[in-house]
Symmetry: C2
Subunit: 359 residues, 2 copies
């Protein structure tokens, strides 16, 4: 079955598209990243977790539906060869832990990019809003990527760790011959977020970090943060490593890169049986960071490219795979990763003009 | 198939529930209206078409999901006897006509009341978000009720008009032996909105209007509004008859009631072949208004109660019926009413824990 996955991440750069053939395995047919027009990006940032007018969110929801449909059309893959679309949309609010709200405890999330528009423009059945079903079942709505890691990287005889270095870094630990409930996933700490803030827009290939000098005293102090030494499950908020962290610590790029590598290595070090660490995310492009990881980690460090998965398109592939699971009436969350009470069928289905053949 | 319908209208009073058995006909099993807690109602009004914080909309969406599920549970109908839920949710923004937005023409709508929460709490497959699919196909996302009017009131030999007197009044004209494309639906003008504003919270049974004196000069001037004389399709915005209208015209309750009756009668008068007018909505409780309608209209005036449909629960029944249509992979919009380019399957499907048997 040919399925498309669509997502725009929290960096709000643009729409990642992956078209994959799913059967016994997952074969990537096409990928693309379509940048947002600057005014659209500005509008998304202005409504994300901020005060705004309801009309702006409603209009942006429908506008993003158009842009997501066009991003898929732009891949050049014939629409009539695609049977299903999984669209994550654009997160504008996410609060995985319940807060007190009008006398109740409420966790909530909000993705925009109207699936009815995507289904109508493409004619293809479209599944969206994957996080809310997990949260309705008591989960944090994240991370969802361990489900794909498990599918892609599970091995009968060797233990593997999938490491994604986005703004925050997180790992999925997949023991040898693991069952879904054996999978462990958590945030290790900073990914690119601190490095990018110190050397904007980013330290190409880690050149500045390589040329710099690590502030050993500062590094030691930061590594003493109990978060790094606590047992999972655990999640680092994105607010944890933002402007305030950078300002307050007065950290330099060499120390930021070393902190990132060392906190990842600390997390991986908890799993001495792991034979391989498979890296994806923007951080996989940072040659110096990868070098430091190889020096610090006991396991073989490689990237998802070796498994046919581009380091930047894993999440778009994830939503194609999750749509396929929902289409097959199968659960797509891993309760051991999200904290949900049980596995649930994720997403909401908008019918297209042609029903999927289910081939 | 036993299906539940859930809606909270723009008056934001509370959640209307209808449980219906759908087969050859539509048999109402139970209905209920569950008022919102005052702080929830205040929160909904504060985010409706207003400046707010994104977090408030996101949290309210999940909270309303809980309240909608509880409203259904409160009917006492065994949940395991219900196979499907259609939930309209609570509209907090609706703009049926496209506006210029970031360089594109965008029409949009936003209903909240998270369907994933309803599906999880009840275990029942839940279909929601009915208006967006019609709008994606170029429709105004409203009115949807003519679909139900057509189903309920179509007659092989007599022409009927379904009149709903909510805040705004609207009619559905169903010619004798009509096909879906023969149905005409439009807003006639004010419903309860002006009367309620002049005699808050409402003029019980029209007693104040009956005792008052119609200001003939003002009535004449208001009836000259070209809207009432224009051919359909046409829609009156709710903003048209709000505080400004009341203030500016300095209208009294007797004249407001007469204006409502006369504008409805003007619309109905366009269809001299109509034999019956079937009234629903809160205005059907206003004895004096009904009396004036009977005097002004050539056709027999009755209420939907005669057809087994409570005047206050027609919309909840509508969303049960629309969910059933979607479940059967059938379109649920009437393009002649909404202006859509074509009939489309409405809504987004959230899976429950038990699949519907489709009985």
């Amino acid at each position: 079955m040919r399925v498309a996955g669509l997502i725009s991440g929290t960096s709000v750069d643009g729409i990642d598209v992956a078209v994959v053939d799913i059967g016994d395995g997952i074969h990537v047919v096409a990928t693309a990243t379509v940048p947002y027009p600057p005014d659209v990006r500005a509008a998304i940032l202005s409504v994300s977790n901020a005060a705004t007018h309801t009309s702006t969110i409603a209009r942006l929801n429908f506008l993003l539906g158009e842009l997501f449909a066009e991003a898929l059309q732009g891949t050049g893959v014939a629409l009539n060869s695609i049977e299903l679309i999984g669209s994550h949309g654009q997160t504008i609010f996410h609060e995985g832990e319940p807060v007190e709200f009008l006398g109740r405890k409420v966790a909530s999330t909000m993705q925009i990019g109207e699936a009815a528009v995507i289904a109508e423009r493409t004619g293809i059945e479209t599944i969206a809003d994957f996080r809310s079903s997990d949260m309705a079942a008591g989960g944090k709505g994240a991370p969802l990527v361990p489900f794909l890691d498990y599918r892609l990287f599970r091995h009968p005889e060797i233990a593997r760790i999938a490491l994604n270095i986005g703004g925050i870094a997180n790992i999925t630990v997949i023991p040898a011959g693991a069952k879904p409930e054996d999978v462990i996933a958590f945030d290790t700490g900073p990914g690119n977020m601190v490095m990018d803030a110190v050397a904007p827009p980013f330290d190409r290939d880690g050149a500045k970090a390589r040329a710099g000098q690590v502030n050993a005293a500062l590094l030691e102090r930061l590594l003493a943060d109990p978060y790094y030494h606590r047992d999972p499950p655990k999640a680092s908020g994105r607010e944890q490593y933002g402007d305030e962290f950078v300002h307050h610590s007065n950290i330099d790029i060499a120390t930021a890169t070393e902190l990132t590598a060392r906190t990842i290595a600390l997390a991986i070090g908890r799993y001495p049986a792991a034979h391989e660490v498979i890296v994806s995310g923007g951080g996989a492009h940072n040659g110096y960071l990868m070098e430091r990881l190889r020096a610090l980690v006991h396991a073989r460090v490689t990237t998802s490219v070796e498994c046919g998965i581009g380091v930047d398109t894993k999440e778009a592939i994830l939503f194609a795979v999750l749509a396929y699971e929902t289409f097959q009436d199968r659960a797509g969350n891993l309760p051991s990763a999200t904290g949900a009470r049980k596995p649930v069928i994720l997403g909401k289905i908008s019918r297209g003009t042609r029903p999927p053949s289910g081939a």
